[in-house]
């Protein structure tokens, strides 16, 4: 079946020729670009490797103060090394360009000639090719150096100047102003005599089986008479260095003395610690006793505290009693006063009474006599009367007296009553008598009483007088008592205060004693620990003494050895090496290959991404075809044709197109025209020989196999689902009900509704356009990022470089030159993406007028430039490690701040902290900046950088990259335009029935265009709004990895107008394609309706 279906391919191809042809050409073009770029990279990388091998690339180079002696050279060669002098000096030409002169090389870093031959006579010269090209020197021509014309016999390159930087710290190659030349030995010596710069005594070497360290140590061990060095600045440096010898020796002597004193001191310390341990033991015993005593004291004070409390209560009660007593005394005084008054009145009264009673007493006898008489009279009378009566009745008379009258009368009365006679008269008489008798007795008593009263009154008067006198005394006593009480009260008040104080004191005493007790406990514990410690101290000091004894012995040895070493070091020659650099540290070597490493990997990856896009575009065509042939496919399924057979059938044609595109693109890319065109940039910048054609096997496989494999994979993924439908479904050409078809669009006019529906129907195609837009924008962004990077690097470098001249010192003077601002600059390394880039650590004063950066104190605090921050993704507070690869030391820094500064990869430190960190003197500097040219002896300097050089370098870089920008922008536009054209064309094809129907219904062209094309404009705008930021973000994310080997700031921000240009470009491309689409739309005729229906 496959064979039968294969016959369909040519017919299918013919039917869709434009579609397949355009994609084929696009694939061919893209594969051509990719393969040619990768092949060019491969040619340069492998060519460089081959060239390095053929030219015998050095393992490193060593620069010395004085040339090696013949014996030293022989010793080196005998040890198995290969060494060749590559002495050189610079000569400035009349046009201001500088040429570095070398002697023809024979063993190492041999010149690869592009044209001509090596110099054979003293007036012949070979020029480095880039320098020759920039200055229009040709073989057979001449060049004037000094006063002499040299015939140019050859033009070529040298592997140790693959990237012909004048200085190793340069970031840009400017071959118009710097190049190298090779002379004969005689020519070199002759020219040297006529002037030129100081000669660099550099040797290139091959290590053989040895290591670089071994070689370096060997050279260090060579005799070196520094006095033969005629460099005055070097001599100046040596004198400074030798001045250190005495300082070192003095220091060591001081150390020996100090250690001796230390040993003595430690002996004394040992004795002291022994005593201390004994003392501590006693102290501990004492502290234990102290603790016991303090505990008892605490108990006592506790009791005292209770007692004082009780006492205080008593005093309080006493105070209350005294107060009451005082009140009583006051009352007593008042009472005694009253008493005294009363007694005085009484005294007067009693005197009067006594006198009155005396008067009264005078009549008492008369009153008594009168009363007796009255009684006697009455008694007699009564007797008489009664006798009279008795007699009358014959009764005997009675005799009455004062003693018997009562009985007689009572008896009589009773007799009378007994005989029935009336006795009342008797009883009355008796009563009267008794009354009178009582009266008489009363008078007697009265008089007796008056007498007694009188007597009493006399006594009373006497008594009252006495009482009055007594009360006077009493009053005086009570006053005195009250006064006493008052004083007593005052005394009790004081007593209360005193008692309170006593109580408080007792309480405090108790608390204090408690603390004393606790403290004494702690003291005891502490003393115990101290005691233990003192014992350990004693042991430790014993060990210390042993150690110090050893130290003393060691320092004595040290002195001996250091004396020997210093004697040796300063007696013999100083180190002859001024610079030792291995090939990996030399950025002039392999620069071109390193630059293209990224092209290779990125190119291969980009090829796959672009092929995914193209094959997806192809798959859209296939899907369209499958939909058209749905019923046929259903019929074939119903006849037992398998899905896989049809899948492979539908995949085959796109895969074939991709294969052919890949093959043609690959062939074109791999041919001379292809990769040569891509090597232009390299040859215009680096100094490398012309590398011959190279066809790496993997690239052939990549070109031939990758496109069809990607196509097969993508198409399989895309169409598998469409072909997985059932035979019935395909037969009926059922369109899967999609949710997007059911979207309610609300009330819109017909045209808008139709446009949206059309867009939803063609969403897959629209997404492909978006995908294509993203891919082409990625290519565009790569080009624009390159442009923006170069442009911003140049502009910002110019802005950030505030100095006019920067002098890098080899031998700095003690004081910086007048008008110059000293800095300390150290170069460290930081690895990223496999490239070890130079980080410039710049030590500055805060008032440096050329670097507007405020440093932060601290040996590990740096202010990072934004170039470093962006490149290494560090923020404030982050740690970053830089390496001193030469000495194998890592330095960890904390980023204290980030400042805008785009020159190289620079961080800033406080100059004093930096000197501390790197062990330099307090006044050390090695760079001077100034705003005008300074008069500094050239011999002191490594080099001078001017702002003008920097500005020029930026222009060179921008110019150099221009062709690449244009190529990328062109490729981007082509990809975008073609993908968009093909996809919109598919949309129209798929809608041909509808378009045809609308035409039949009488819709005009403009209306149909509105329905089918104008909606795409909005889609393109929306896609651009989505795709531009995505592509920009993605490219910005990966772009730093493309320039991993370039130590520069990465500023990829686009100015606003660039975005406007991008959007305008997208829309312009769309509008151009829209014109083509209008023509296609017009070609759809009404018969489509008939064609699509059997």
């Amino acid at each position: 079946m496959r064979k039968v279906l294969m016959r369909r391919y040519p017919r299918d191809l013919k039917a869709n020729l434009f579609r397949y042809l355009s994609l084929f050409l696009l694939i061919t073009f893209c594969m051509f670009l990719i393969i040619s770029i990768v092949d060019a990279a491969e040619r340069v990388i492998r060519g460089t490797e081959r060239n390095q091998a053929e030219s015998v690339l050095e393992d490193g180079q060593i620069t010395t103060f004085t040339p090696f002696t013949e014996e030293q050279i022989k010793e080196i060669e005998d040890a198995g090394y290969i060494i060749e002098p590559h002495f050189n000096y610079e000569y400035m030409l009349e046009n201001g360009a500088v040429i570095r002169m070398f002697v023809n090389r024979e063993k190492i870093d041999k010149v690869a000639l592009d044209n001509g031959r090596l110099a054979e006579a003293s007036d012949e010269i070979v020029l480095e090719k880039r320098f020759a090209a920039e200055n229009n020197y040709r073989v057979g021509g001449s060049i004037q150096i000094g006063e002499k014309d040299y015939k140019i016999t050859g033009i070529g390159s040298s592997v140790d100047y693959d990237a012909p930087y004048r200085k190793l710290s340069d970031t840009i190659i400017d071959s118009s102003t710097f190049g190298i030349g090779f002379l004969t030995k005689e020519g070199y010596e002759e020219l040297k005599k006529t002037g030129g710069g100081s000669e660099e005594l550099t040797y290139a070497f091959l290590l053989g089986d040895h290591t670089a360290t071994e070689f370096k140590e060997m050279v260090k061990g060579f005799d070196f008479d520094y006095k033969k060095v005629d460099d005055p600045y070097y001599q100046e440096m040596l004198s400074d260095t030798y001045g250190k010898k005495d300082e070192i020796q003095d220091g060591i002597n001081d150390l020996v003395d100090g250690v001796k004193e230390l040993a003595d001191g430690v002996d004394e310390l040992k004795d002291g610690t022994g005593e201390l341990a004994d003392g501590m033991e006693e102290l501990y015993d004492g502290s234990v006793e102290l603790y016991d005593g303090s505990v008892e004291l605490y108990d006592g004070t506790k009791e005292l505290k209770d007692g004082t409390k009780e006492f205080r209560d008593g005093v309080t009660e006493l105070t209350d009693g005294v107060t009451k007593l005082e009140d009583g005394a006051n009352s007593l005084e008042s009472g005694s006063n009253a008493l005294n008054g009363g007694l005085w009145s009484l005294n007067n009264g009693t005197a009067n009474l006594r006198d009155a009673l005396k008067e009264l007493n005078k009549n008492n006898a008369q009153i008594e006599g009168g009363a007796e008489q009255i009684f006697q009279a009455l008694l007699t009378t009564t007797q008489n009367e009664i006798n009279e009566q008795l007699t009358a009745v014959g009764m005997p008379p009675i005799s009455l007296n004062a003693e018997n009258y009562s009985d007689v009368l009572s008896g009589l009365a009773a007799q009378l009553s007994a005989v029935g006679m009336d006795a009342s008269g008797i009883r009355d008489a008796k009563d009267s008598l008794e009354g009178i008798e009582a009266y008489a007795n009363g008078v007697k008593q009265y008089t007796g009483a008056v007498s007694q009263i009188t007597e009493g009154a006399g006594k009373l008067a006497d008594g009252s007088a006495q009482a009055f006198n007594g009360s006077g005394s009493l009053h005086d006593g009570t006053v005195a008592f009250r006064d006493g009480i008052t004083e007593f009260k005052d005394g009790t008040g004081e007593l209360t205060d005193a008692t309170k104080k006593l109580d408080d004191g007792a309480k405090e005493l108790s608390d204090g004693t408690k603390e004393l007790s606790d403290g004494s406990k702690e003291l005891s514990d502490g003393v115990k620990e101290a005691y233990d410690g003192s014992v350990e101290l004693d042991d430790g000091v014993k060990e210390l003494r042993d150690g110090v004894t050893e130290l003393k012995d060691g320092v004595d040895d040290l002195k001996e050895q250091s004396d020997e070493m210093l004697d040796k070091l300063f007696k013999e020659s100083p180190n002859n090496i001024t610079e030792f650099m291995l090939k990996d540290e030399n950025n002039r070597i392999g620069g071109a290959a390193g630059d293209l490493e990224m092209n290779r990997s990125v190119g291969l990856l980009a090829g796959v991404i672009v092929m995914v896009l193209f094959t997806y575009v192809l798959s859209v065509f296939v899907i369209h075809q499958i939909q058209n042939e749905s019923s046929v496919i259903g019929a074939l399924y119903s006849l037992g044709v398998r899905k896989n057979e049809l899948v492979s059938h539908y995949i085959t044609l796109p895969t074939l197109v991709c294969f052919l595109g890949g093959l043609c693109g690959g062939l074109l890319g791999l041919c001379k025209f292809g990769s040569d065109s891509q090597m232009g940039d390299t040859y215009c910048y680096y100094s490398v020989p012309w590398f011959g054609m190279m066809v790496p096997l993997y690239l052939i496989i990549y070109a031939v196999a990758m496109p069809p494999l990607v196509s097969a994979f993508v198409n399989y993924i895309v169409i598998n689902k469409s072909l997985s439908r059932t035979a019935l479904s395909l037969l009926r050409n059922e369109q899967k009900a999609s949710r997007r078809n059911n979207i309610k669009l609300g009330k819109m006019n017909f045209i808008n509704t139709y446009r949206i529906r059309q867009l939803l129907r063609e969403i897959r195609t629209a997404l492909t356009i978006l995908f294509g837009m993203v891919i082409s924008l990625l290519v565009l962004m790569m080009g624009l990022d390159c442009y923006v990077l170069c442009e911003s690097a140049g502009r910002l470098n110019s802005e950030d470089v505030k100095y006019q001249y920067m002098y890098s010192y080899k031998y700095p003077t003690k004081e910086p030159p007048e008008g110059g601002e000293p800095l300390y600059v150290q170069s460290l390394k930081k690895e990223q993406y496999g490239f070890n880039l130079d980080i410039t650590v710049m030590g500055i004063d805060d008032d440096n007028p050329y670097i507007g950066v405020k440093t932060v104190p601290g040996k590990n605090k740096i202010i990072a430039s934004d170039s470093v921050a962006v490149r290494y993704k560090v923020g404030i507070g982050d740690k970053i490690i830089f390496s001193d690869t030469a000495n194998d030391i890592d330095y960890a820094f904390t980023v204290a701040d980030i400042v805008p500064y785009s020159v190289g990869l620079t961080v800033f430190m406080d100059i004093d902290d930096m000197r501390d960190l790197f062990g330099e003197d307090d006044d050390y500097y090695n760079v001077v900046m100034s705003d005008h040219e300074l008069e500094i002896e050239e011999g002191r300097l490594y080099g001078v950088t001017s702002k003008a050089d920097i500005d020029k370098a930026a222009d060179i870089f921008l110019k150099l990259m221009q062709s690449m920008f244009m190529m990328l922008i062109g490729a981007s536009a082509l990809i975008f335009g073609l993908v968009m054209y093909l996809m919109i064309a598919v949309m129209i094809d798929r809608s041909s029935f509808g378009i045809s129907l609308l035409k039949i219904f009488g819709f005009r062209k403009g209306e149909i265009r509105k329905l089918y094309l104008d909606g795409n404009r909005l889609m393109i705008i929306a896609a651009a709004v989505i795709a531009v930021p995505i592509a920009k973000w993605f490219m910005d994310t990966i772009f730093p990895s493309f320039i991993g080997n370039v130590a520069c700031a990465i500023h990829l921000e686009f100015p606003w107008y660039l975005y406007v240009i991008i959007f305008a470009g997208i829309l312009a491309t769309y509008e151009v394609i829209n014109l083509f689409m209008m023509a296609k739309l017009n070609r759809v005729n009404q018969t489509e309706v008939l064609k699509n229906r059997e």
């Binding site: 079946m1 369909r8 046929v632 119903s638 006849l639 037992g640 044709v641 037969l731």
Partner: protein, 239 residues
């Protein structure tokens, strides 16, 4: 026709097919039972939406029943997996549709060869084209043929797989009367002379007269089945 003496090639037992569910459920087949014998021309008659095409699709293994079974030569195809169903369609069944479904970019011969079982019979493509009277047209493209010729190509293609059972879904539906009649004659020839078992689905009663047996399907059920002792020749059918 003595059915008892014939072998059963296909059995359909209590076949149900419904689409959708709940209120939206549409019952296409509702308990269909039938047997097809070797070599007979069997007609399924029914109006649009009666379920006749669904029944044909079930028999052809193009659709799966909701319940019931389809047994072809003793093997229950309703339990077949995809691969077995494909093999069944490839080796046992030939489909003819109302639309011819030919590949426009392939010639007549290529369209037939596409599904031909050349392993079994290397000459089958030409044989089938001869049989269909298309030898002269074999290098033509479908667009260069009339509808009847295209349908004959479709029949040749259906036969090229050496099918035991030919399923024809409204084979004259897209053809004019005369052309349709020719197609029916071809089918009749295949049945009578080449003893192919053929099932024709049609909504035309007159066409049903040419069948050995005819069933009428309505609302997914067989409402009538009769044995046509005197099938009418295609030549004599008018509709």
């Amino acid at each position: 026709m003595e059915n008892d003496s014939k072998n059963i090639i296909l059995q359909v037992k209590n076949l149900h097919k419904s689409y959708g569910s709940g209120e939206n459920e549409v019952v296409a087949l509702n308990g269909v039972d039938l047997e097809i014998y070797e070599g007979e021309l069997f007609v399924i008659l029914g109006s649009s939406g009666s379920g006749k095409s669904t029944l044909l699709n079930m028999i052809g293994g193009m659709d799966a029943p909701s319940s019931g079974s389809v047994i072809f030569r003793g093997r229950e195809i309703s339990r077949f997996k995809d691969r077995e169903l494909t093999n069944y369609r490839k080796n046992c069944i030939g489909f003819i549709f109302q639309s011819f479904n030919l590949i426009g970019e392939l010639t007549v011969r290529e369209n037939v060869a596409l599904v031909a079982n050349t392993k079994k019979n290397p000459h089958i493509v030409d044989d089938m084209l001869d049989l269909m009277g298309l030898s002269e047209k074999k290098k033509k493209y479908p667009s260069q043929l009339s509808g009847g010729q295209q349908q004959r190509v479709a029949i040749a293609r259906a036969l090229a797989g050496d099918a035991d059972l030919l399923l024809c879904d409204e084979p004259t539906g897209a053809l004019d009367y005369e052309t349709g009649k020719q197609i029916l004659k071809q089918l009749e020839t295949l049945s009578r002379e080449h003893h192919k078992t053929i099932i024709i689905v049609t909504h035309t009663k007159e066409i049903a007269q040419m069948g050995d047996r005819v069933i009428t399907v309505k609302d997914g059920k067989i409402t009538n089945m009769y044995v046509n002792d005197n099938p009418v020749s295609a030549e004599r059918i008018n509709w």
